[in-house]
């Protein structure tokens, strides 16, 4: 679901390679003390070394490009061959429903205390019994304040744009967020399962396609920097990459609200090194280690100690880094859709196939 949010400069090449890999190759047994699968570039590049220095344990890190890809692998192997996996929260929910996740050993992960109370009480797993949040944020509109009149503070600014913006807008391509924009604009929930409401959102999105430049969830911020696009639907963290290159770029969450996405760390029950996995979770939750993600990938982390250790200049340059946990949890948490996922897939196919 979260698509290639992390693989900033990567894209189809990686997707192709990983698609090929997922369609056939089984995961071999590993000699490492711990096997971790994460999005490329989503944790410190030297984390294997620093973790080994701290614990003496050898880590093998593998990458996945999308949630769907790692889900396919985990379902095929029943989780064997992996210890810690990074997935977005709805997928953690599914893995848990499938009985593939180990319970988090609270005694072995004392750094859980660093989490914001809000982050330890998220509705899919209150009490962090099977998933530990790693990063969180929301989705909104990222725009060139020098090219857009006023603040585009409604989803309608993107879906029924002013003439000047026609052909200069991109939307996210991935089903939950594409549908999310339509659902929120029509007053529905981002987790809507009522077919009539999903249909209404779909109709609105098909209409909006006429004024759209492209669907894009990998290069939208560079289109904004180049001026090819003036307004894009964006994840907050990725809008920051645009802001880093052009100070006229701003991020706003529309008045109709938005989603709260959470990327989590889970431990596979069938992995061979669950005890080591708990040590790794504890290591990541250490304030200094967790702060790496906020400083380097410009995502908010749900770690109070880590966020408080950040240089205040960061939140000045990237205002969305300053969003409080209370604000974030005010948005609607993305949940597993269950069978309604099929309705979303079909609606997105219809939107993409519409003329």
């Amino acid at each position: 679901m979260t698509a290639t949010r992390r693989s900033v400069s990567r894209g189809w090449a990686v997707r192709l390679a990983t698609a090929a890999a997922m369609l056939g190759l089984a995961q071999g047994a590993s000699a490492a003390d711990l096997v971790i699968s994460n999005w490329d570039g989503y944790m410190a590049p030297d984390i294997a070394e620093t973790f080994k220095a701290a614990t003496g344990l050898e880590v093998e890190i593998v990458n996945h490009a999308t949630n769907e890809e790692i889900m396919g692998k985990l379902m095929a192997s029943q989780g064997k061959g992996y210890d810690v996996v990074f997935v977005s929260s709805p997928f953690a929910e599914i893995l848990n429903k499938q009985g593939l996740l180990a319970q988090i050993d609270k005694a072995a992960v004392p750094n859980l205390a660093n989490l914001y109370p809000e982050a330890a009480a998220l509705a899919y797993d209150p009490g962090t019994s099977f998933a530990v949040p790693y990063a969180w944020g929301t989705t909104g509109l990222c725009y060139r304040s020098d090219l857009v009149d006023g603040t585009p503070d409604s989803w309608m600014a993107m879906l029924k744009p002013a003439d000047a913006l026609k052909g200069k807008i991109t939307m996210l391509a991935t089903d939950r967020w594409l549908m999310g924009a339509g659902l929120l604009a029509t007053g529905a929930s981002v987790n809507e399962s009522d077919p009539a409401k999903i249909d209404a959102a779909k109709d609105l999105l098909i209409e909006a396609k006429k004024t759209l430049l492209a669907y894009d969830d990998t290069t939208f911020y560079s289109k904004l920097v180049s001026g090819e696009a003036s307004l894009v639907q964006a994840w907050d963290g990725w809008c920051n990459y645009g802001i880093a290159e052009n100070a006229d770029i701003k991020f706003v969450v529309p008045s109709e609200g938005s989603d709260l996405w959470v990327d989590t760390m889970v431990v596979m029950k069938n992995g061979e090194n669950t005890a080591n996995a708990m040590k790794f979770l504890n290591f990541v939750l250490d304030a200094e280690n967790h702060a790496w993600a906020a400083e380097n990938i410009l995502y908010k982390v749900p770690n109070k100690a880590a966020m408080e250790s950040l240089d205040p200049a960061l939140a000045q340059q990237y205002p969305n880094m300053g969003m409080t946990p209370a604000e974030l949890t005010g948005y609607e948490l993305l949940r597993d859709l269950g069978d309604a996922q099929k309705l979303y897939s079909r609606a997105v196919s219809e939107i993409k196939a519409a003329n």
Partner: protein
């Protein structure tokens, strides 16, 4: 080669596992779904785009191949080399190059502005036209090679005979050269059509995701919708189209070979 195809064929008859994978309950539902108006429309649309690409590629490749085959023998190899040269770079890089050329802030618009054009920059990228241009560009060398190989095998004595018998250049071309090189045209054409209809990278990159082709649909089934059986069924239909076209092409080649024999007799 055969095993993955059989595996895919097998998947197509089972039900989707909710989270990837396959539930081994026999069903024909996946094939019924292919004929659902939504997916049928995507199929027809892909076929239309692929047919346009094929036609354009042949129209461009034939004169090019003809020119190469008429060049002095010593220069033919180097001309062919240049026709195939782009193929030594990665498909993705070539496709990204078109993004650089076509986008609103891109090379084409810069050149236009430099040339005195003062209107709004042209929106060429993320359109069906861009997808077609990208596909034609990428598969053109295959067609040139296929037609060239037909042309270079053409028995020139037949062309001379036609001239001697009083046919003008146009008539000779239409009655002798073209029919005898049709197998090459068909081979190149089938190649482009089959590759274009299943392509998903070009529509995604140059179409900006706004143009769904059957390849994108298959990709989505496997990688986002977790519906492997339906993706497999769609894939099998693509393979079936390919087999039908290749059979037709083989027949055309045989028939042409027959015509040549008759002509020689």
């Amino acid at each position: 080669m055969v095993a993955p195809c059989l595996l895919i064929l097998g998947y197509a008859f089972f039900e989707r596992g909710t989270w990837g994978g396959v539930v081994y309950t026999f069903t024909l539902e996946n094939f019924e779904r292919v004929f659902d108006p939504l997916y049928a429309r995507i199929f027809l649309n892909s076929a239309r785009i692929a047919a346009t690409v094929t036609l354009l590629a042949i129209l461009i490749a034939y004169p090019a191949a003809y020119a190469i085959s008429r060049a002095p023998k010593s220069r033919q190899a180097i001309l062919l080399f240049f026709a195939v040269l782009p193929f030594w770079s990665n498909y993705l890089i070539r496709t990204y190059a078109w993004i650089v050329l076509l986008n609103r802030e891109g090379l084409v618009n810069s050149v236009l502005r430099w040339g005195g054009y003062e209107g709004e920059p042209l929106s060429m990228l993320y359109s069906e036209g861009a997808v077609i241009v990208g596909l034609v560009y990428n598969y053109l060398p295959f067609v040139i090679l296929a037609i060239y190989s037909s042309l270079s095998r053409l028995d020139m004595s037949l062309v001379e005979a036609s001239r001697d018998l009083g046919a003008g250049p146009v008539r000779t071309f239409l009655r002798v050269t073209l029919p005898l090189t049709l197998p090459g045209v068909a081979a190149g054409g089938v190649f482009v059509f089959v590759l274009s209809i299943g392509n998903f990278v070009t529509p995604a990159l140059l179409g900006g995701g706004r143009f769904q082709m059957i390849g994108n649909l298959v990709y989505d089934q496997f990688l986002t919708a977790n519906d492997w059986p339906f993706g497999a069924a769609l894939g099998m239909i693509l393979i079936a189209i390919m087999i039908v076209l290749l059979t037709l092409q083989a027949r055309a080649t045989n028939r042409a070979a027959g015509t040549t024999r008759e002509a020689i007799r």
